[in-house]
């Protein structure tokens, strides 16, 4: 019997260790994740009733909130130990966000909305950013890039938001109920785009959703219940 070498540890993109979030006045923690690993490029659905801690978990893994205890390691970097400014910078460089109600900025064109996060984070656009924005807008099917955002349909708005999430070449894409405020056809289109683009970019994708069709298309499902993760 040959001594098998220790199995090569699977590479992880995200590793949560001993993460706990408590809110004042509540006895039980709002979120308790002793250990959770995500592989690079993995597509994960996050489900669970409202109040189960989905948003809290998303805030923790994007660095918008800091857990009371534990480590949040993205590619080995513990973002829970970064300063608020450091987390802002890290998020700008690594995370693309898609939210239920878009958070597009009225008065700006589709193109300017796609480029706004990079403009605000760096003051100067990196070279190629404008071309990448144009490519992504074409890819999500927005023909007129200079069209003001408030004149678009809701489905188009969410597609612009998807383009924005991908504009800075993020390693991580986080979507919070991306289809919940869309009709079925628009939701399906947005789901397609999210999956395709995340795949093309080889990004890790985490989608919090109630949409069973979307859940079914994601490779892995994490179910949250009362702050606890169940596979």
């Amino acid at each position: 019997m040959t001594l098998a070498s220790a199995p090569e540890p699977a590479p992880t993109a995200l590793a949560l260790r001993g993460v706990e979030v408590r809110f004042p006045g509540l006895e039980r923690p709002a979120l308790s994740v002793p250990a959770l690993d995500l592989a690079p490029g993995e597509h994960v659905a996050l489900t669970g009733p409202s109040g189960s801690g989905k948003t809290t978990l998303l805030n923790i893994v994007t660095g918008m909130e800091r857990p009371d205890t534990g480590a949040v390691l993205w590619d080995g970097v513990d973002i829970a130990r970064l300063s608020e400014g450091g987390r802002d910078r890290w998020r700008a460089g690594h995370v693309g966000l898609v939210m239920q109600d878009f958070h597009l900025f009225p008065g700006l064109s589709a193109r300017d909305n796609v480029l706004l996060p990079q403009r605000l984070a760096r003051f100067r656009l990196p070279s190629g950013a404008a071309a990448e924005a144009a490519r992504l807008l074409d890819r999500v099917g927005i023909a007129r890039h200079d069209q003001h955002i408030e004149t678009l349909s809701r489905g188009q708005m969410q597609r612009v938001a998807v383009a924005r999430a991908l504009a800075a070449h993020p390693r991580i894409i986080i979507a919070d109920e991306p289809t919940a405020s869309l009709d079925d056809a628009s939701g399906a289109a947005v789901s397609d785009l999210l999956l395709e683009l995340a795949h093309e970019a080889a990004a890790t994708l985490i989608v919090a959703t109630h949409d069973p069709r979307l859940v079914g298309r994601l490779g892995r499902t994490l179910r949250l219940d009362a702050g606890l993760v169940k596979e």
Partner: protein, 444 residues
């Protein structure tokens, strides 16, 4: 970042415009008070500069200066003729000229004086000085032409004045601009004023001009046929034959000026004398010498300084009112901005969620608020300047005193101070945006 701010302002343009306008009006209020007070002070000081010393009969110093320098009509007591004669003969005096009032042409005062004052005020721009009693020299701002005939009116029409039907003057010259109320005066020989008002006959019978009475009715004054006659129109002297009313005012003016008449100690009295002393020392000596039981001597500048004290108090009150208004507006604006930021909580949270650094968020909110306030301030200073100019123009039209509206260094430092305060005020909402957690903003 600027595109983002511009987009937000475009979206809320009506509110932004209202904020800018409210700030502009509040600022303009304060600016007008400051500018107008300064204009009054500068204008009256410049008007008084031409007049070193005023001598009159005992009474109110302020009234004497208002009448003699600013030509505000008021009944002043008369001094004896020997006061003027004495001043003219005084070696400390460069010139002394009588000022005799009472008559008006339209709303413009007709002032009796002598050649000495024509020279003393800077001389003539065109035409020639009066050489006869029925000739007049007009101030630079009088809307008449040389050759026009004018009929004096005793007192202002709205105060029950009446036209001296018997007398008329012909314009022969125009003064250079002096920047004083004298620019809207009509200057005539003092002897003519004496005669029109009958003082000559009453006060000084037997004077050698007496014999000329009633000779002056048929002189043809000016080329009246070619004029558009305003009301009361310049009249042709030949048209009025109904003299001998009220006063002995048909007293003939068709005679040459007697250069010695004013220096005659037996001449009729005058209400005020403008004196140009030779030196500053002479000025103080003369003021001392003519402060007596019979006469009053004042430096107009001195009287004005007292008036400015009053004016300054009024400015303080107005300034306090304006400052109060500005403070209220400032507080209201701050509230509006904070409410606006409250409405933008989600938007600001989203900016942070997308990775905008806190400094960017601070800068966006600060710049937007500061831009609005600064625009209001600039507009307010401009508006205040325009309003003060308009007000000055109206006041100058009424008083004849040009009121210069100008900014000075102190305005610049006040503007800078207001900008600095605005920068601080704008930092309040910016700071609240800066401290907002992105997650908390998105949850709300």
């Amino acid at each position: 970042m600027f595109g983002f701010i511009a987009a937000d302002l475009r979206r809320h343009w009506a509110g932004a415009l209202a904020v800018v306008l409210i700030i502009a009006f509040a600022t303009a209020l304060g600016v007008v008070v400051t500018l107008q007070e300064r204009a009054l002070r500068l204008g009256s000081a410049r008007a008084a500069q031409a007049f070193d010393l005023v001598v009159g009969a005992p009474g109110s110093e302020t009234q004497l200066v208002l009448s003699a320098v600013f030509l505000q009509a008021a009944p002043l007591p008369l001094m004896d003729g020997e006061v003027l004669a004495g001043l003219i003969a005084d070696p400390r005096v460069a010139y002394a000229a009588p000022v005799g009032f009472g008559d008006f042409y339209e709303r413009q005062p007709i002032v009796g004086t002598t050649q000495a004052l024509l020279d003393g005020l800077g001389g003539l721009a065109s035409g020639r000085p009066f050489a006869r009693l029925d000739e007049a020299v007009i101030g630079a701002g009088v809307a008449l032409r040389e050759g026009d005939a004018i009929k004096p009116q005793h007192g202002l029409a709205e105060e029950g004045g009446h036209v001296h039907t018997g007398a008329a003057y012909r314009v022969v010259g125009r003064m250079k601009p002096t920047g004083t109320p004298w620019d809207r005066a009509l200057l005539v020989p003092i002897e003519a004023v004496w005669r029109v008002h009958g003082q000559h006959a009453e006060d000084h019978e037997g004077h050698d001009h007496e014999g000329h009475a009633h000779e002056g009715h048929n002189h043809d004054v000016g080329d009246g046929d070619t004029h558009d006659h305003a009301e009361p129109a310049p009249v042709r002297a030949s048209e009025h034959a109904d003299g001998d009313r009220d006063h002995d005012e048909a007293d003939g003016l068709d005679t040459a000026i007697d250069p010695a008449a004013a220096a005659d100690p037996h001449a009729p009295g005058v209400p005020a004398i403008l004196v140009k002393p030779r030196t500053i020392a002479d000025a103080y000596k003369l003021r001392q010498a003519y402060r007596s039981d019979h006469t009053l001597a004042v430096f107009p500048a001195e009287v004005l300084t007292r008036l400015y004290g009053t004016l300054g108090d009024a400015r303080l009150v107005l300034g306090a009112v304006a400052a109060g208004a500005q403070a209220l507006v400032g507080a209201a604006i701050l509230l509006v901005v904070i409410l606006h930021i409250g409405q933008r909580r989600r938007q600001i949270g989203a900016l942070r969620a997308f990775g905008a650094p806190r400094l960017s968020v601070f800068a966006i909110v600060w710049l937007e608020a500061f831009a609005l306030i600064a625009a209001g301030l600039v507009a307010g200073f401009g508006l205040g300047f325009v309003a003060a100019r308009a007000l000055s123009a109206i006041l100058a039209g009424m008083s004849g005193v040009p009121l210069p509206v100008e900014f000075t260094g102190s305005d610049l430092s006040r503007f800078a101070l207001l900008l600095a305060i605005s920068a601080l005020i704008a930092a309040v909402p910016a700071l609240s945006a800066y401290r907002q957690s992105p997650a908390a903003a998105l949850r709300s």
